[in-house]
């Protein structure tokens, strides 16, 4: 096992982690501010990817495709917030899970109806194709590297927004005491719609960015959604910093687990058995990580006591 390969896999894990963060940040904000479990977040991811693929096919511009993904997902988010989600804030989690599960059915089948079952393809932009040589002779894909950069920039932007801007102050106040900020004259329902749209736009962006490395198809949001839930549960629901730590942890565990575990088992088992045992364990690894963390910290790493 060469160190260069290991470095490359670590970067892949980091890239996966920052993309998960884009999903998880929205989920955790929505939960923190509105107390809502939104299973339909994966559908917004899918909407973003389809909008980007459609726009790229029409105009050929990757930048326009990214903008389309942000706008489409935000609009879809505002629409479902105003029609459905808004009625769920005061309900218990069971109703929220069911209603957003119903939204997934509608979104997935609706998309299948419009676009068909065949996957669409979104090409990487030409100026980001190819590889770049990093220090220590590590060859790495420019596109994946730029995903890491975009993810980090978004994370910085979010932290800045939450810490320094007026809307960030309102979001934090909303997490602490919604009645009070309502009484102080902040339009709560507009704030909620805005937070939901922000989360949706981030999910849509993630969908478009990932859509260029994987295929764009119905149901693409669901595996990511579950991983994003794992991330926010590990990090502590409602905490953006927790979501970032959780995302990186899950990204690295998943990617490095798939890479290292089969090799580790090869030291003690026969090759064919080692591959099957190693890969089964690797695909379970993040769930084991989550269960382990919850056992010691039932509210996640950065969750309130």
């Amino acid at each position: 096992m060469s160190l260069i390969l290991l470095a490359e896999q670590t970067l892949n894990g980091l890239q996966f982690g920052v993309m998960l963060f884009l999903m998880a940040a929205g989920l955790t904000l929505i939960f923190g501010v509105m107390g809502l479990i939104n299973l339909a977040h994966g559908s917004l991811y899918m909407v973003g990817a389809f909008a980007a693929a459609g726009m790229a096919a029409a105009t050929g511009s990757f930048m326009l495709a990214l903008i389309a993904s942000l706008v489409a997902a935000a609009i879809a988010g505002v629409l479902i917030e105003m029609t459905v989600i808004r009625r769920l804030y005061d309900r218990d989690h069971l109703d929220q899970v069911l209603a957003t599960f119903a939204l997934i059915l509608i979104f997935s089948e609706g998309t299948r109806w419009v676009f068909g079952s065949f996957p669409l393809f979104l090409d990487k932009p030409s100026f980001l194709s190819g590889t770049v040589t990093l220090p220590f002779n590590v060859e790495y894909s420019v596109y994946r590297l730029s995903l890491i950069v975009v993810g980090i920039l978004v994370a910085i932007g979010l932290f800045w927004m939450i810490a320094k801007t007026r809307i960030g102050i309102r979001i934090r106040a909303g997490e602490n005491d919604r009645e009070m900020i309502g009484a102080l004259g902040v339009d709560i329902s507009r704030l909620y719609t805005m937070v939901f749209a922000l989360g949706a736009a981030l999910a849509g962006l993630a969908g478009a960015l990932i859509g260029a490395i994987q295929s764009v198809q119905v149901g693409m949001g669901e595996p990511v959604l579950i991983l994003a839930f794992v991330v926010i549960v590990i990090g502590g629901i409602g905490s953006i910093k927790g979501a970032l730590i959780g995302a990186i942890l899950v990204g690295l565990t998943d990617t490095l687990g798939r890479f290292l575990l089969p090799q580790a088992f090869a030291l003690i088992l026969e090759p064919s058995q080692a591959t099957s045992v190693g890969s089964s364990l690797a695909s379970m690894s993040i769930y084991i990580l989550m269960a382990g963390i919850l056992l010691f910290r039932p509210k996640g790493l950065l969750g309130g006591a």
């Binding site: 069971l94 899970v97 609706g110 299948r112 109806w113 579950i226 839930f229």
Partner: protein
């Protein structure tokens, strides 16, 4: 209360009526649908025991459904290929006997439920929902990547397993088996819900501190409920696998967990017969809407959304009125 009893009777009569009518008209497909509804009802009744009576929102009951399914798959696979499951330290052979398979499914599900329950019950609220989901995903990915029993492709069993004195390949006879089991499960759950344990469990859901103050441990009540709930759903999984003569990781997927939850909600949370109505309605919708359009799940989603938003308490809440405090 009166209305609810009446609705229960209508529901049971409906099941028997549809199956018998289909049998007389020689429509095996309809009998299979009724059987599927009965099996889903058992799964729903199982989940309802934890969710409705104990307030434990488990989003991972697919684990038990899948374990039951794989218990059947693995036992029948070894019987079919004449290979032992285990040679060391003692030999275990496969079997084609349904009662044995059911017992194994129930015991395995119960044992796993003890483990998952004991760990998950350390958390509550959203964390409980998510950790049960995580356990289900763990089993799902394990089933996908473990090649011995078919991995992602699943496992086919050529002949339905045997039940003494009956021809299980005859749809109406298999329906009779599943329906009888459903009735037994309903009877058991009804008795359990009205036992001192059932009352304590509901009391704990409403006010943990008070139950603690009178000297009971909520954790133990919840865990018992979770284990019973998992065992019942495991039985349903074994029956479902035998109905299709096929098991695959799909049984363990989170969609399955969601669907079992839908049976409970459509029917009415916390009513003994609620999931029976929910499962029957689900199968009916699937049948009717599936005939209308290839994209029937859109309509299913819309109906589900309508139920959650506007008809709280599901079918039972709609027809028999909201649950009264004492029943």
């Amino acid at each position: 209360m009166k209305k609810e009893t009446l609705l229960n009777a209508v529901l049971i009569a409906l099941f028997v009526g549809v199956a018998l009518a289909a049998w007389i008209m020689d429509e095996p497909y309809l009998i299979t649908l009724a059987t599927k509804a009965a099996i889903f009802a058992i799964a729903g009744v199982g989940l309802n025991f934890a969710l409705g009576f104990g307030g434990l929102v488990s989003f991972g009951h697919a684990v038990f459904f899948g374990l039951g399914g794989y218990a059947m798959g693995i036992l029948a696979f070894h019987a079919q290929t004449y290979t032992p499951i285990l040679e060391w330290p003692f030999a275990i052979n496969g079997t084609r006997s349904m009662p044995v398979i059911w017992c194994v499914a129930i015991v395995v599900s119960a044992v796993v439920a003890v483990g998952i329950g004991a760990l998950s019950l350390r958390t509550n609220g959203v964390y409980f929902i998510m950790i049960t989901l995580a356990f289900a995903q763990m089993f799902y990915y394990f089933a996908i990547s473990w090649p011995t029993y078919g991995g992602e492709d699943g496992l086919s069993i050529y002949v339905r397993n045997e039940f003494p004195g009956l021809n299980t390949m005859d749809p109406i006879q298999y329906f009779a088996i599943c329906f009888t089991l459903l009735l037994l499960v309903l009877f058991f759950v009804h008795r359990a819900a009205h036992s001192s344990f059932g009352l304590l469990l509901r009391a704990a859901r409403q006010n943990e501190e008070r139950v603690q103050a009178v000297g009971h441990t909520p954790f133990r009540l919840y865990l018992t409920a979770f284990v019973i709930s998992g065992a019942i759903t495991g039985l349903a999984g074994a029956l479902f696998a035998d109905l299709n003569r096929f098991v695959s990781p799909t049984l363990l997927s989170w969609h399955t967990s969601g669907e079992i939850m839908i049976f409970v909600i459509l029917g009415g949370v916390g009513r003994v017969f609620g999931p029976v109505a929910g499962a029957a309605l689900f199968i009916l919708l699937e049948y009717v809407l599936g005939g209308l359009s290839e994209f029937w799940q859109i309509y299913l989603g819309a109906i589900l959304l309508g139920v959650v938003l506007f008809a709280r308490g599901g079918l039972y809440g709609l027809i028999a009125g909201r649950e009264v405090a004492h029943d």
